[in-house]
């Protein structure tokens, strides 16, 4: 279970540009829940993910995982149990290393990075199997530098890499936003499959309302640092993109834009 307890976050405190993003924001996500988060720009979606992962500090409030307070735990230690995929495909892979090298390195997450050789040739077949399910032909390019791959190919790899070791949480930050519709579809299907197979607690931020309706079992619509909509179970059944769009427009009109 992941809990955010009365989070306060103010950006640029003490300047004329001071913006209060979260004012007493709380959220509880039970284990194995797949939460889709939508909302306009600046509504606090990505900040929420950054706060969970420890990329930015909070001013007040607590973050708990299964009851343990992790508020002061540094980012890299939290990410031990969390897989994260960013919007920018280049952030999830190493461009100057080959596909095999990237996969081998990701496979070592959670184990010590010591003086053992990193690439284990025996595992190549296993990596190729994983890559083959993408249908992008990456399994035949194990020696190719990742930097020469397309954004979609890199993002697919980033998703595989962040979920190949045992993790409990998966954080997806608009991970299909930079991709063409077809590739985005492939990545989303793969996401759904991985989350179901590994039974991961997942938070997915997306601007694609259709994905938000089709995937997951809970939907949050964020607005000015709070959840305007929070639908799960019965309330979420039969939800259509049109409903969300109507709600979205209502919020925007309130804001005057």
């Amino acid at each position: 279970m992941l809990e955010l307890q009365s989070i306060h976050k103010i950006y640029q405190r003490g300047t004329v540009n001071e913006t209060c993003l979260f004012n007493d924001f709380s959220l509880t996500i039970p284990d194995k829940q797949f939460v889709c988060v939508v909302g306009s720009n600046g509504s606090g979606k990505t900040s929420m993910l950054n706060i969970i992962c420890g990329s930015i500090p909070v001013d007040e409030g607590k973050i708990l995982i299964s009851g343990t307070d992790i508020t002061s735990m540094p980012e890299h230690k939290r990410l031990r149990r969390i897989g994260r995929v960013y919007q920018d495909p280049s952030r999830g892979t190493c461009p100057s290393m080959t596909i095999l090298e990237n996969m081998s390195m990701a496979d070592n997450k959670g184990k010590p990075f010591n003086l053992m050789p990193c690439v284990n040739k025996k595992k190549t077949a296993h990596y190729q199997e994983l890559l083959a399910q993408l249908g992008l032909g990456l399994e035949d390019k194990m020696g190719v530098m990742v930097g020469s791959l397309s954004g979609g190919q890199r993002q697919a790899m980033a998703l595989l890499m962040s979920t190949m070791t045992p993790i409990e949480f998966l954080i997806l930050d608009e991970h299909t936003a930079a991709l063409d519709p077809k590739t985005a579809e492939i990545i989303m299907q793969l996401t759904g499959k991985i989350v179901a197979e590994k039974k991961l607690t997942t938070i997915m931020v997306t601007h694609n309302l259709r994905y938000a309706v089709e995937y997951g079992d809970r939907l949050l619509m964020m607005h000015q640092g709070h959840a305007e909509l929070d639908l799960s179970g019965e309330a979420r059944k039969g939800l259509k993109v049109e409903h969300l769009l109507t709600k979205f427009n209502e919020i925007s009109i309130e804001c005057g834009n």
Partner: protein, 292 residues
């Protein structure tokens, strides 16, 4: 022949330095000014130990350790105290100047009477003909050893993390590792190699001079760029091999230029101009590296 030998010898000594700088400059993308003082640091430690009559072989691990500490210091200042990369190096470089003077005892130490790894009873027992080639053989072996060890290291899990840190620090965090600690480790390894190069240089020229570090970084960066840019076409060459060859090539060019009447006064000016030309011609400026 003498010219060729001395080019090879000096090129090989500076190759170890260039291998170290390759780690910071190319892999970590860190302009590490520490080098200008960790090079003479290695030499100062060597001079001190040799004047105390300690075996020249022991100066090697000692100076490497000293260099590694200098690197750790720069790393901690940069990573933990959040000082900019270039400034952290300059701070340590400035401070080490005094430390080097303290270690060596004075600004110039002559070691003409002492045994070195190049000149000792064992070497003297060889024929005169053989003795001419002893330095180049020892240096080739040392440089090869450093290169092979570095190749092996870069293929380890720790080495992969080092490469990833320069490439994409976000990924390192995602792998649940602290990219700051990896940076400190990289700086330690790099400066250990730099100090080793200083140690060998001190034994080779048989004196220590406080000013021997001036321009070390530029010289090393020139070797790295000459190696990695000019030999880029030869895909079968490992980057580390290219750096070693680059260092020898660079020394060769300098020796040729001096031989053809370039005044030593103009050497640094020509070096700077050449470096600029190589960087501009060889840079893949379109590929702007994103910094996360």
């Amino acid at each position: 022949m003498t010219l060729l030998l001395s080019v090879l010898e000096q090129g090989l000594i500076y190759a170890i330095l260039a291998l170290g700088v390759y780690i910071t400059f190319k892999i970590l993308d860190f302009p590490d000014m520490t080098v200008d003082s960790s090079f003479p640091l290695g030499a100062a430690v060597t001079a001190l130990m040799m004047t105390k009559g300690i075996s020249p072989l022991l100066t090697i691990p000692a100076s490497m350790l000293a260099g590694a500490l200098a690197g750790v210091l720069t790393g901690v200042i940069h990573v933990r105290l959040k000082v900019r990369d270039l400034l952290s190096g300059i701070i340590v470089m400035t401070g080490l100047y005094s430390v080097n003077l303290h270690i060596a005892g004075r600004s110039n130490v002559q070691l003409f009477m002492n045994d070195t790894i190049f000149k000792n009873p064992l070497v003297s027992s060889l024929s005169f003909e053989m003795q001419t080639y002893v330095p180049v053989i020892i240096l080739a072996a040392l440089t090869l050893l450093a290169k092979v060890l570095m190749d092996l290291y870069l293929a380890t899990r720790s080495g992969f993390l080092l490469r990833a840190t320069g490439d994409n620090p976000t990924l390192v965090s995602t792998l649940a590792k602290d990219s700051g600690s990896v940076k400190i480790l990289g700086l330690a390894i790099a400066n250990a190699l730099v100090a080793l190069s200083g140690c060998i240089m001190c034994q080779y020229q048989r004196y220590f001079d406080i000013s021997m570090g001036t321009g070390t970084l530029v010289l090393a960066v020139a070797s790295v760029i000459v190696g990695t840019q000019l030999l880029k076409g030869l895909r079968f060459l490992r980057a580390t091999t290219a750096v070693v060859l680059g260092s020898i090539l660079y020394k060769g060019c300098v020796a040729l230029a001096l031989n053809f009447g370039l005044s030593p006064f103009d050497l640094k000016l020509v070096t700077a101009a050449l470096l600029l030309i190589i960087i501009v011609l060889g840079s893949d400026r379109k590929k702007v590296k994103r910094r996360a």
